[in-house]
């Protein structure tokens, strides 16, 4: 018997929901094999990875801290991906948001007012939007591929951050360390649960999930995005503008990524550092796809991926595993998910081995 794929008459709705779980199961299986090869007890490793981080309130709060930027960026990216706009550069937009938010904080260093934080948020959003507007302009004006331009701009952004923290934004009293001043209380995000680091950003992430859900399922703009993503010619015939959609989705993704970046420096980090994100902008792509490009799905996917960050850190401490394990886990999850998605349109059948080969 050899397995083969048979096309389904119409695509399976159940598989749309089941496929992430199959992918998760396969990822866990892959993890068990990986840990065995590394000579660790799989049971112990799985516990350290997926259970231990959630045994305390602090652990749950940390989950929220990690999930907030992932969800915030993930839901915004999923809008773009639905329209067929492949913004891969959320990491760069996050960085620019962090830089602009920090600039506001450092500029208003002497000011103690409730308006500092909102101004920083505006700065973060505008910074991210500005960075995303470059690929949007290049795409609409010159038809330059946004995958390349947004990705390349990420590295520019990271170098710009490095330049700034080594130069103009360096703490004057900081013994030449490449760090900015530590933000004042007025420029720091309020903590939601005492004794943890869970900050206001988590609330914004939930608002984003609700807002984007409304946009996608109820609004004409969301409808236009779906149409242009699935059938550009039908969108043109209806009179929906492809260029407007490119601008909208890139600015939305950039703005939300910028906001997430500003939340990172103003919340958990508290100052501008040369490295401010463990790749949230890239990982959010996985979040968007594991979440089926659906806002609520992205929320759960964000939590799952956040857990893998926490588990990875925990596994480093307790089992001496390298940090790369986190990346491997995330990569496997996306890999298996994309593979399992074949089952939405095809089903696996078996046929007896035939002696004849057909050309």
């Amino acid at each position: 018997m050899i397995p083969y794929l048979e096309k389904r008459a119409e695509h399976s709705r159940t598989m749309v929901y089941i496929s992430p779980f199959i992918a998760l199961a396969l990822t866990l299986l892959g993890g068990i094999m990986l840990f065995s090869l590394l000579g660790k007890s799989p049971a112990q490793a799985m516990y350290a990875f997926f259970v231990a981080p959630l045994t305390s309130l602090y652990g749950w709060a940390e989950l929220g801290v990690k999930a907030s930027p992932l969800v915030l960026i993930g839901v915004a990216l999923s809008i773009g991906f639905r329209a067929g706009v492949w913004n891969i550069g959320a990491e760069g937009q996050l960085t620019l948001g962090a830089i602009c938010g920090s600039c506001v904080a450092l500029w208003l260093y002497q000011v103690d007012s409730v308006f500092v934080l909102p101004l920083m948020m505006v700065g973060g959003v505008l910074g991210g939007m500005f960075w995303a507007s470059i690929p949007a302009f290049l795409k609409t004006r010159f038809n330059a591929n946004e995958i390349l331009t947004s990705l390349m701009l990420t590295y520019v952004a990271l170098l710009l951050l490095s330049l700034l923290v080594h130069g103009p934004l360096r703490d004057p009293d900081g013994f030449n360390f490449p760090e900015s001043r530590i933000f004042h209380d007025a420029a720091s995000l309020p903590i939601m649960v005492n004794g943890t680091r869970l900050h206001l950003g988590a609330v914004f992430a939930l608002i984003a999930v609700g807002g984007i859900w409304l946009l996608l399922s109820k609004s004409l703009i969301g409808f236009q995005i779906k149409v242009i993503g699935q059938a550009p010619a039908a969108g043109r015939h209806a009179g929906f503008s492809v260029n407007r959609t490119i601008w909208f989705t890139l600015l939305l993704g950039g703005g939300m990524a910028g906001l997430a970046g500003m939340f990172e420096v103003s919340g958990p980090i508290g100052q501008l550092l040369p490295i401010i994100s463990p790749g949230y902008g890239f990982t959010a792509i996985i979040v968007a796809f594991v979440g089926r490009l659906h806002p609520v799905g992205s929320l759960f996917a964000g939590l799952l991926i956040a857990l893998s960050y926490l588990g990875g850190e925990n596994a480093q401490i307790t089992l001496n595993l390298p940090i790369a394990v986190t990346g491997v886990f995330q990569g496997m999850l996306l890999f298996f998910l994309l593979a399992c998605d074949v089952l939405i349109r095809y089903r696996i059948r078996f046929k007896p081995v035939s002696r004849f080969r057909h050309g």
Partner: protein, 515 residues
């Protein structure tokens, strides 16, 4: 093995109980067919009747689920197109597989096995093309050839293999009447030399003119196998469709209405090598009138539709007026608000989004005219009511408004799209290929609906490759050739020969000269 039918000594190919199913569809159900030597045999049926499935099994592209194939009396299995060619079966597909940037000779070489090509290929091509009346220059580049000439390449490629059976899949759908006549002469000559031809079509006149035997398929089954000379086109149609259709009622001499749609000397340069430039296109349509635009595929029809409905904007000098309002610079949504609706030829992905529900698909063109959006939010209840009304009014067979557009059959989806536009009561409607790939029942319903819309005062432009259809429904006829639109003549006065000349661009030149 049953031997109920005594084997005919002349039988070249015999199919017995051929069955093939796709997921959710029985495409061929115990089909029998006998093809004799030197016979032109028609395989007749509507779109979706199972003709293509059957010939794909003969040509080895598809494997039958069950059934037997006899070739010259011997039972065989055809496992691949190569095996079919080995036996002497050749096929000319409806859609050509040619490389535009290569020459005729290079294209022919690419389609042949190494041992078939031989050394003196060019001479053999010339020899065959002269012998069978298929003029073709081996060194010409394919992109410079007309569709008819491209088809000749495919035919010559087949003839080089000296086949015993030539399968032709809807060969005339892309030809002008004159080109069809030339093709028929070639086919008759081949037949006289003893070659058998399986001719697939749903055009009854052609079958009357060309074929001796006909096997008629409906819903995957053989409904009749007849001698063509014993039948009339009407009796063939009745067998093919299985029901009486009725005809479009032309309201005789309805008074010409106001001038509603005017296009004046419109130019549109080609955007790439494969598209056609429109040159000095002018047309006028009055309310209550249908203007038919004939033409062979690829002569600028797609570009014309795009320019008329606003999907592409034209050069500033051109003028398009809807009810006396200039709209040449406006996009599709703005023109829609002026009253212009359009139906593109491609249903899936252009007229409708296959992955969205019918309910959502109503929004595409009706969201503004029917007030389905309030303050940026979609009123799904209202769109559902509108969708249900379309389904009722136009007898769209589906699971309801929540069915995905892609799950409907071609005919039903087309009825839905046509209904969506007609129910918006447009003042001008531009339609391309309204019944292409649609079953005969739905096609007739669509034509009747278009005629009724015109009678209610709408100005309609129908762009179609189906001449019979245009003659049936339009008041005036024009043709497009190489991006140039001929002048329009009253349908009642125009002859088939004149239309043919218009389609090949001859009439247009006269027209230009006389102006």
């Amino acid at each position: 093995m049953t031997k109920t039918n005594s084997p005919n000594p002349d039988s070249l190919l015999k199919l017995q109980d051929m069955t093939r199913s796709y997921p959710g569809l029985l495409a061929n159900d115990q089909v029998n067919l006998t093809l004799n030597k030197g016979e032109i045999h028609a395989l007749l049926g509507e779109n979706g009747a199972g003709k293509s499935t059957l010939v794909k099994m003969i040509y080895g592209v598809l494997k039958p689920d069950s059934g037997q194939i006899f070739w010259q009396g011997k039972r065989i299995a055809i496992n691949s197109p190569a095996a079919a060619r080995e036996l002497g079966i050749a096929m000319v597909f409806q859609h050509f597989s040619l490389f535009d940037s290569l020459t005729v000779l290079e294209n022919i070489v690419l389609g042949l096995e190494a041992h078939e090509a031989g050394n003196n290929l060019e001479e053999r091509i010339i020899e065959i093309s002269e012998k069978y009346g298929l003029p073709l220059e081996p060194s010409r580049l394919v992109y410079s050839l007309s569709v008819g000439e491209r088809q000749r390449i495919e035919i010559i490629r087949c003839l080089l293999q000296n086949p015993g059976l030539l399968i032709m899949d809807e060969p005339t759908s892309v030809l002008t009447p004159q080109e069809v006549e030339t093709l028929f002469e070639t086919l008759r000559r081949l037949c006289d030399e003893g070659m058998s031809i399986l001719y697939i079509s749903h055009k009854l006149d052609e079958i009357k003119a060309l074929c001796r035997q006909a096997t008629i398929l409906r819903h995957g089954r053989v409904v009749a196998s007849v001698r063509v000379q014993d039948e009339t086109t009407n009796s063939l149609a009745a067998k093919m469709i299985g029901e009486d259709l009725g005809t479009v009622k032309m309201t005789s001499a309805h008074p010409p209405g106001e001038l509603r749609f005017v296009v004046n000397k419109l130019d549109y340069p080609a955007t790439d090598q494969l598209s056609v430039s429109l040159r000095q296109v002018s047309l006028e349509v009055r309310g209550g009138e249908i203007l038919g635009i004939a033409g062979v595929a690829g002569n600028g029809q797609d570009e014309l539709l795009g320019v008329l409905n606003g999907e592409v904007q034209t050069r500033p000098s051109s003028a398009i007026r809807i009810d006396n309002k200039d709209c040449a610079h406006q996009g599709p949504d703005q023109r829609r608000n002026l009253g212009l609706a359009s139906i593109p030829s491609e249903r899936l992905g252009h007229g409708a989004v296959p992955g969205l529900t019918l309910n959502e698909n109503t929004l595409l063109t009706a969201h503004e005219r029917m007030g389905l959006v309030r303050m940026g939010l979609i009123d799904f209840q209202k769109s559902e009511e509108f969708g249900c009304k379309i389904i009722r009014d136009f007898d769209v067979r589906c699971h309801g408004v929540e069915a995905e557009a892609g799950s409907l059959s071609g005919g039903n989806l087309q009825k839905f799209i046509v209904g969506r536009e007609i129910n918006q009561k447009p003042s001008v409607l531009v339609v391309s290929q309204p019944t292409w790939g649609v079953d005969a029942g739905a096609a007739q319903a669509i034509r009747v609906a278009l005629r009724e819309l015109a009678d209610s005062g709408t100005a309609i432009v129908v762009i179609s490759q189906d001449l019979d259809e245009l003659i049936e429904i339009s008041d005036r006829l024009a043709a497009i050739c190489s991006g140039v639109l001929s002048r329009a003549l009253p349908t009642a006065e125009v002859t088939l020969e004149q239309i043919g000349l218009m389609m090949s661009g001859v009439e247009t030149l006269d027209n230009e000269a006389s102006e």
